[in-house]
């Protein structure tokens, strides 16, 4: 049973990243009608906000120590980060909290990136076919990632969570199970909560503010809202910025989980599109739901029967279910690698417009 709960937890945790990216993608699609292939790159840029801040905080003063030599015969460099040299203890804390602090950096930066992108490029593509939108944003994604590569190199750059938020949490004990059965990394739970907060925030924003109401009306019928004399374009620009911020924040908080490198965006791009399509193009709720669903699917297909498994007589109900599941998986080698795509195919064939999609969206 604990194994099943653990995989569900893991699926939700995986899904929260998917949901966040897909949410932004759907926001852009729903409001602006633009298929943004550069969305993965925005996620990647968010992650590199953290890297940059971290680099900034750990900028070091280099002192050559003439008394010690490196293996290749030059004087040893003694490096101390400036912040530590200047602020001492507080500086160390600053460095340690670099990841959560990057949120403060990422919000304005990503907003700026998003707005610039919309005004400078995307704006000119509203009237163009979807294929061209896909292509120009795809080109942009390549350019962005190559710039990041030229700047930061190709290797992943590790970021660590603050110690206070690291380590393992005993989740099982918290819900009244035997201690130590369901433990999960604290940071991943933080990520899950963070995703929950952001998603709720976006929904509330759209649901309860006048701004959000206008935007939702615009999503439903852009022309009519335009006729009411409301400048919908400005609001849509802001929505693009917001979507960029959501993607960026998803990237910032993801860095301790996955060391960021320039290719991060492309890795998530295909996946996030699958999530959006499974959820239904233009449906925010669908995107979030599909994100979590696919996360759980991925998590469950990755299981394998361990050599130490109780015999039929000693099994609990949970283990019986697991046993059946393991047996199914044994007949489907490699299923974990294609499950996302398989799910997309099945959903699209059974429910043509995705789980929660509306009719007529993006069908031509």
């Amino acid at each position: 049973m604990d194994q099943i709960l653990l995989q569900i937890l893991n699926g939700l945790d995986k899904g929260s990243a998917y949901a966040l990216i897909a949410l932004g993608l759907t926001l852009i699609f729903g409001t602006l009608g633009v298929v943004n292939f550069a969305h993965g790159a925005l996620f990647m840029l968010g992650a590199f906000c953290t890297v940059s801040l971290n680099k900034l905080l750990t900028m070091e003063q280099v002192v050559l120590d003439e008394t010690r030599m490196t293996a290749w015969g030059t004087p040893m460099e003694i490096r101390t980060p400036f912040v530590e040299a200047w602020f001492g203890e507080f500086g160390t804390t600053l460095v340690e909290y670099a990841v959560p602090l990057s949120i403060l950096v990422a919000i304005p930066v990503m907003l700026l990136v998003g707005v610039t992108m919309e005004r400078g490029l995307i704006k000119h593509f509203y009237k163009r076919p979807h294929a061209e939108q896909i292509l120009v944003t795809f080109g942009l994604a390549i350019v962005l990632q190559e710039i990041i590569k030229a700047w930061f190199g190709a290797n992943p750059i590790p970021q660590s969570e603050p110690d206070a938020l690291g380590g393992m949490l005993d989740f099982g004990a918290a819900i009244g199970m035997t201690e130590g059965t369901i433990t999960y990394p604290a940071w991943r739970l933080v990520y899950f909560l963070f995703a929950g907060v952001v998603i709720t925030g976006v929904f509330c924003f759209l649901q309860f503010t006048t701004f959000g109401m206008v935007v939702r009306a615009g999503m439903a019928d852009r022309e009519t809202v335009g006729l009411l004399g409301i400048n919908i374009d400005k609001r849509f620009t802001f929505m693009f910025g917001l979507a960029a911020v959501v993607a960026g924040l998803a990237g910032v908080m993801y860095t301790p989980i996955l060391s960021p490198d320039y290719h991060l965006g492309m890795d998530f791009l295909v996946l996030s599109f699958v999530v959006v399509v499974v959820g239904g193009m233009g449906s925010l709720g669908g995107a979030v739901m599909a994100g979590f669903l696919l996360g759980i699917l991925q998590s469950f297909t990755a299981m394998k029967r361990p050599a130490i498994f109780p015999d039929a007589a000693d099994r609990t109900v949970g283990e019986d279910i697991l046993n059946v599941w393991y047996t199914i998986l044994e007949y489907l080698p490699g299923i974990d690698q294609i499950i996302i795509y398989l799910a997309a195919v099945v959903v699209l064939l059974v429910r043509p417009r995705g789980l929660m999609g509306r009719k007529g969206v993006m069908e031509t």
Partner: protein, 397 residues
């Protein structure tokens, strides 16, 4: 439009194409061309021509065409392993396998249109890639040899050929005794031109592929495909069943992809899984758009540009760039090297991305639209007053 004139234009077009393909090795030599690159031009040209039949005519944007190319190359290598080293059966079986795969995937994917279709094809192709990379390459059920790619071995049976040549090596791919990798060299205008036998085979196929594509473009079937792109509703209320038209286009382009894959294996008998990856599918989309989707020549030009960037641009290192800016004063030379170096060598992707964005933004009709505009500019300045508005919006072919 005069029917006779347009059929004469087509004749000129195909003749011009044949001449260009025949002179390719000579034209490309000063620009760093070499046999393998020229073969790539032809092979990816075929791939793009085929993709264009689907995307350019019907407007269905497939993000999974690389799967058919990959399936075709696996089929061809298996043919080399089991049948013999003659390239013809290999190429034919590659086309058949490409066609079968595309019929299967197309039948399912074409139930949806728009981006849903794109995602479906993408999903199928990624499934093929992932399975080919891992599960199908494992000992026991080794169809693809996984990451390394399917290679020939000395102990392959080759039931209708020889397993190993007399000298104990794997026999080279050949067509009735003519070895594909054999290279001829001759001097012309002070440069040494290299041509391989493989290029002749590729050239033959690219000419055939181009000719067939031209027939399709001019045929009622081609017109129907353009109708599919423009208005599917009208088509069905006109008594036409759109699905088989789209599927036929899909399968034809799948067979083109299979042919390209088969030729790739014929030139270099190895089939790797990464040929099926979605980025490879994206590449053929880039080629087609770059050159001009829906035009006859455009996709081939696009294929050439991208392969040139990939193979020649990526080989420019600082050493080469410094040499290139030799004629400039030292400080200016190093400044130029500094400016250009992010765009060449390992930065060739950046160049590709920038060029591609510029094309999509300013020339949605691709390079062919650019040529047409330049052409109009000249004509316009010669006979001013006739009005540029008359110029047809359809891209030149």
């Amino acid at each position: 439009m005069n029917a006779k004139a347009s059929s004469r234009n087509d004749l000129y077009l195909i003749l011009g194409f044949i001449v260009a393909v025949a002179l390719g090795p000579i034209i490309m030599t000063p620009f760093g061309g070499y046999p393998d690159l020229l073969q790539k031009f032809a092979i990816f040209g075929i791939f793009a021509i085929g993709f264009n039949i689907l995307f350019g005519l019907t407007g269905y944007l497939s993000f999974g065409h690389a799967a058919f190319l990959g399936a075709g190359s696996y089929a061809a290598v298996w043919c080399f392993k089991l049948v013999g080293m003659n390239v013809l059966p290999a190429i034919i079986s590659a086309m058949i396998v490409g066609g079968l795969f595309s019929a299967l995937i197309g039948f399912v994917s074409l139930r949806r249109s728009g981006i849903y279709f794109s995602i479906l094809t993408l999903a199928f192709a990624q499934m093929c890639y992932n399975l080919a990379y891992s599960v199908l390459g494992q000992p026991g059920m080794n169809l693809t040899n996984g990451e390394t790619g399917l290679q020939l071995k000395l102990d392959d049976p080759r039931y209708f050929g020889e397993s190993a040549s007399e000298s104990g090596t794997i026999p080279p791919t050949s067509m009735f005794g003519i070895e594909m990798k054999q290279i001829h060299e001759f001097d012309l205008f002070g440069m040494t031109v290299q041509v391989s036998n493989g290029y002749f085979v590729c050239a033959l196929f690219v000419i055939l592929a181009f000719y067939v594509s031209m027939r399709i473009f001019r045929s009622p079937f081609g017109m129907m495909l353009r109708a599919v792109k423009t208005n599917q509703n009208r088509m069905s209320y006109t008594g036409l069943n759109t699905r088989p038209y789209a599927l036929a286009a899909f399968v034809i382009s799948g067979m083109y992809a299979g042919l390209a894959g088969g030729l790739m294996s014929a030139m270099d008998p190895l089939a790797g899984a990464e040929r099926m990856q979605w980025t490879a599918s994206g590449e053929v989309v880039l080629m087609t758009i770059l050159g001009g989707a829906g035009t006859l020549i455009g996709p081939i030009i696009g294929a050439g540009v991208i392969k040139y960037l990939e193979n020649i641009f990526s080989s420019f290192n600082d050493q080469v760039m410094t040499g290139f800016f030799d004629f400039l004063p030292d400080w200016l030379g190093s400044a130029m090297v500094w400016i250009t170096s992010p765009f060449v060598g390992e930065g060739w992707h950046l160049t590709l991305g920038v060029i591609f964005m510029l094309i999509v933004i300013f020339l949605p009709g691709g390079l062919m639209e650019g040529f047409a505009r330049i052409g109009r500019l000249f004509r316009g300045s010669r006979k001013r007053g006739e009005g540029a508005a008359d110029a047809p919006r359809v891209p030149a072919e």
